[in-house]
Subunit: 352 residues, 2 copies
Amino acid sequence: MPLASSVRAALAASLVLAAAGALAQNAPLQPRELPARRIPVPSTVSPELQQLIGQPLRTGWNTPPTTPEGWKQLAESLRAAAAPNVQAMRERLKVRVEPGTLGGVKIYTVTPETIRPENRERTLVQVHGGCYVLNPAEAALPEAMLIAAIGGYRVIAVDYRMPPEAYFPAALDDSMAVYRAVIAKTDPRRVGLIGTSAGGALVLEMGLRAKQLDVPLPGAIASGTPMSDSTKTGDTFHTNEMLDNVLVSPEGFCDAAAAFYANGHDLKDPLISPVYGDMGGFPPTILTSGTRDLLLSNTVRVHRKLRNLGIESFLQVYEGQSHAHYGRDDRIPEVREAFGEIAYFFNKHLGK
Amino acid sequence: MPLASSVRAALAASLVLAAAGALAQNAPLQPRELPARRIPVPSTVSPELQQLIGQPLRTGWNTPPTTPEGWKQLAESLRAAAAPNVQAMRERLKVRVEPGTLGGVKIYTVTPETIRPENRERTLVQVHGGCYVLNPAEAALPEAMLIAAIGGYRVIAVDYRMPPEAYFPAALDDSMAVYRAVIAKTDPRRVGLIGTSAGGALVLEMGLRAKQLDVPLPGAIASGTPMSDSTKTGDTFHTNEMLDNVLVSPEGFCDAAAAFYANGHDLKDPLISPVYGDMGGFPPTILTSGTRDLLLSNTVRVHRKLRNLGIESFLQVYEGQSHAHYGRDDRIPEVREAFGEIAYFFNKHLGK
């Protein structure tokens, strides 16, 4: 190596490796220019997960509906298309699913073959995802079935009202109504909240709302890849764009749906973007994401926020996974692993 | 939205959002084709960290030395260039640094202005990074100074032999010699190991080696963005390529250095790539990485491995950070935050 080149490299590397470089002040912030790349499916995950990771970008990711009727039609089409898969999952997981109402809200009670003895006095409230607009009725159930079966828990799944029937804050109001009905009969320390994506945001919003209303907080919260910032802010909205094959882009499907739900309300309201809320006093929380998740930043930002408040908060990030891959199908080993972690978390932190 | 398009979207989305899609079997695994992109510096980190994130790719990242003499020359240039910054950091952090030898190995003893009362009987052993080849002498010290000052710990920093003076397993042998000398005088449950990058791998390798030698394990391990897989395997080697401005690419500087250290030895040996080792029985471990870290996958793979063994393991992932940004400079708020987390972890898990 020529000396001049060595010295040049040394000067650069001294900033990079010696962990003691002076900070440039007021330097202009240059974006990173990334060349086009081909990203292989990783060899470091199960064959079943490789199949998910290898799927192309979600069809129609950049052509969301533009009318209330279009959203409703899409939600219904999805529900119908999902129904057989939900049914098959229910059979594989051997859970019982009973529709009902609680606190005036439509729910499903999901019961595993065996409720674990330590969970007899405990209840989980599950709040489904789907960008606040999708997954009505049984399409809401996979996460509830997974945690019921893998954790041995009784689960109340909230089938909250959605646009165009009801806009913000209907989803939150309905979830709170169910939660309040549950804690009327069960010590809140024995009640856990669980949700993914919009549901991951809603369980955080429920904590914020409970504080506002002086309602007791639950004993533990599981928030998966939360839509914690609906203002499209966060580094992985950019770095994982076109890599995450579920959400694909902040200019895609899900942020359009969140805006449809907000119905003109400020997207930075902590009850829509909970990363901006005051989470002081929150119970122990587990957060789950993946390295390709468009919402990895929205997940780690909540984790840092909770940790900086001194709250017990546990982060799980799964290799190669896009948004909410961790809850996709019970036959994927990493899905059973993720719900095993969540079950372990609830078991450790909920009141006995 | 036309019905045909709606149904097509529905069928795709049913796989995507309802979490219950059937798994395609034996489908060919398609890579993801990413277009060229411009990634802005995130607004979601401190101004000080923004300066680091906005730095261009490390100069000379793809032209590592090709001869032993070139590596030695580079290491010496880096050491000399880093020295003033290390000195300034030492003064800001008000730590005392004393060179010495322990177990026949060169060390520095790093002492904070005040050792916290609960840490009087505790010692940390710090094993520096630098791709197994760089950061001799005082260039090794920033991490040791950060945890000494922020955690109130006495720290022994290992200045292990490096190529071309000594190849694999010299770095590990020297680190073990120091560790054995420390635990000869201090209950191993009161001894913590801390390292980043190659040092993050070495502290894991020390756990594996201690098991082989029937030496007692330490009380806790802090492994930052470990080079846990020197075979260039892991999803973020690809997804964060050209985004991480420190390591830049698996075809860059650091993997060339690791191969130089291995000196022909199998790179998949768990004592070089500890993710392949049996970590059963490991003590509590904290792992630290960033969303842009080329080694994010190597970090989360170790986290999952430890968790699946039932070991208490805590993952911290920082917004927007490239490889080892979290230990760069004590004036960056997120650096103090990260070392605050590590100090909290050691305080909670080391024997009193």
